[in-house]
């Protein structure tokens, strides 16, 4: 669920009971900085895929691209820090 769909206190169960599975809780809206991928610099070493704590980065074989799942990427920046080719840069959300 995104921020826009948040429910009011009368609509949710008490005591923090989850009324949807955890996968429906889109942690992507916690993100302040967004990882931007540079296809030219990327060597496809997969470090970003291995280091991502949310499993939000995958390699798409058909297009040979690194795909970022922004529904779950929290913008932690570990991928940027670990990328040996400087192919990932963190940009403030909304600044592109």
């Amino acid at each position: 669920m995104s921020t826009k769909e948040k429910k009011g206190w009368k609509e949710i169960p008490m005591a923090g009971v989850c009324w949807v599975p955890s996968t429906a809780y889109l942690t992507g809206d916690w993100r302040t900085y967004r990882p931007i991928w540079d296809s030219e610099k990327c060597t496809r070493c997969m470090f970003c895929h291995l280091y991502c704590p949310d499993g939000a980065i995958a390699w798409k074989a058909e297009t040979n691209e690194m795909v970022f799942n922004y529904d779950y990427c929290k913008g932690c920046g570990i991928c940027e820090a670990e990328c040996p080719a400087d192919a990932i840069s963190m940009k403030l959300e909304g600044e592109g």
């Binding site: 206190w9 169960p13 008490m14 005591a15 923090g16 009971v17 989850c18 009324w19 599975p21």
Partner: protein, 412 residues
């Protein structure tokens, strides 16, 4: 006090702690986890005897601390068990963190607190510092005037806490030593009547992560999560739900109190506050707990002398029965609030803060002053209570308050 009893009901010689243990014994409690501390010790001792003698079907857990005792109760309550614990003073302070977890998980734990001062210097005697500091922890708080009421309130507390629309943990305060260790005649219900009154725990249905409507308890067959991580996006909403349960609680407390009165013949005011000779009173004191018994004696003496004195005893402090207090005091001209705890650096004690705050909305505001009394078990005598009414008389005559907050029974 005369014990009111119905035909077929027994009267036992019990101190306050024994009365509480006896009530818990009759309520079909599934789990008791506790750590002994003066002056609550007798509750745990008696209950462990019931367990040893096979008089109860209860899992009794001797924990290494109060923090663990309440954690056991909270988690047992989450799987649907009826749970009870008891503590006092430093024990309640050690539970502080878990008090909030319990109310946040909407776990209907019932707890007796044999009210005792907090260290240092170390003191084992009565004041209300231990439970007053926990007034914001989301627990319902009931204060008993005598052992009979402690017994009755524990039985009522299970019905209140476990009510599907409330689900708030409930604390019953009984004054350490004054009640916990003083033998009284206590009328008790027959076992069957008590058990029927509390009944079985009922569970409201909640929407689970699988999209099913399931009972609100941890059960592998109908899995749910209780009390997980809750951030900026939903924590506030869950706290608002606890406040809503508190708003609904007075009605439930009164209904349970009335239903209990029908089977026991015993009533405590309207269940929330007890007015004593307040109808035409000009002067009133307000207090909690066992002091009310002494105040009633003084009120009777003053009435014989023609002084229009009365008492408002706050039985339920959380949720605070604001409108009931305003109504009960509507004809009173001068009020003294008696606090058996001290909010250091605040303007008076906690009961004074709240009652004076409530009266700000009254159509006609009476004069209102505060007396801090009885810390660490210091005796509150009839002479001192008479002095308070004398002070109120002077305030009415002079229309002036010299000191709005003062200590009484203290050497200068």
């Amino acid at each position: 006090m005369t014990v009111i009893q119905k035909k077929g009901h027994s009267v036992l010689a019990l101190n306050g702690d024994e009365a509480v243990a006896y009530a818990a014994k009759q309520c079909d409690v599934d789990v008791v986890a506790a750590y002994p501390i003066t002056p609550q010790t007798i509750i745990v001792e008696r209950f462990s005897e019931y367990v040893h003698n096979g008089e109860v079907d209860t899992e009794f857990i001797c924990t290494e601390s109060e923090h663990s005792a309440l954690t056991c109760c909270l988690t047992a309550a989450a799987v649907g068990a009826r749970t009870f614990t008891a503590t006092a003073s430093a024990g309640l302070a050690l539970m502080h963190e878990i008090l909030y977890v319990t109310s946040g998980c909407r776990a209907p734990v019932v707890m007796a607190v044999a009210n005792r001062a907090l260290s240092a210097p170390i003191n084992i005697h009565c004041d209300h510092s231990d439970s007053m500091v926990e007034r914001d922890s989301g627990w319902i708080q009931i204060y008993a005037e005598n052992s009979q009421e402690a017994y009755d309130s524990i039985i009522q507390a299970f019905r209140i806490a476990e009510h599907p629309e409330i689900l708030l943990p409930t604390l019953v305060g009984l004054d350490g030593f004054f009640l916990s260790h003083t033998l009284e005649n206590v009328g008790v219900l027959p076992d069957g009547a008590a058990r029927n009154f509390v009944g079985q725990r009922q569970f409201p249905f909640v929407r689970s992560h699988e999209g099913k409507l399931v009972p609100f308890k941890l059960d592998p067959d109908t899995p749910i999560t209780i009390g997980p991580l809750d951030l900026q996006d939903y924590y506030f909403e869950h706290k608002r739900q606890q406040e809503e349960a508190m708003k609904k609680a007075p009605d439930v407390i009164q209904k349970v109190h009335e239903e209990y009165a029908e089977i026991s013949g015993r009533r405590y005011g309207n269940g929330l506050v007890e007015s004593y000779r307040l109808e035409d009173a000009e002067l009133a004191t307000i207090c909690l707990g066992s002091t009310a018994g002494t105040v009633k004696t003084v009120v009777d003496q003053l009435r014989k002398k023609g002084v229009k004195a009365g008492l408002l005893r706050i039985r339920v402090f959380r949720p605070l029965p604001t409108q009931h207090a305003i109504k009960a005091l509507q004809n009173v001209k001068a009020v003294a609030v008696m606090d058996r705890s001290c909010s250091f650096g605040g303007h008076g004690g906690p009961v004074f803060h709240e009652i004076r705050h409530a009266l700000y909305d009254a159509d006609i505001r009476p004069h209102i002053v505060n007396y801090i009394y009885g810390l660490g078990g210091r005796d509150m005598s009839q002479r001192l209570i008479t002095k308070i009414y004398r002070d109120l008389t002077r305030i009415l005559e002079t229309n002036q308050i010299e000191q709005s907050v003062q200590f009484i029974g203290l050497r200068e």
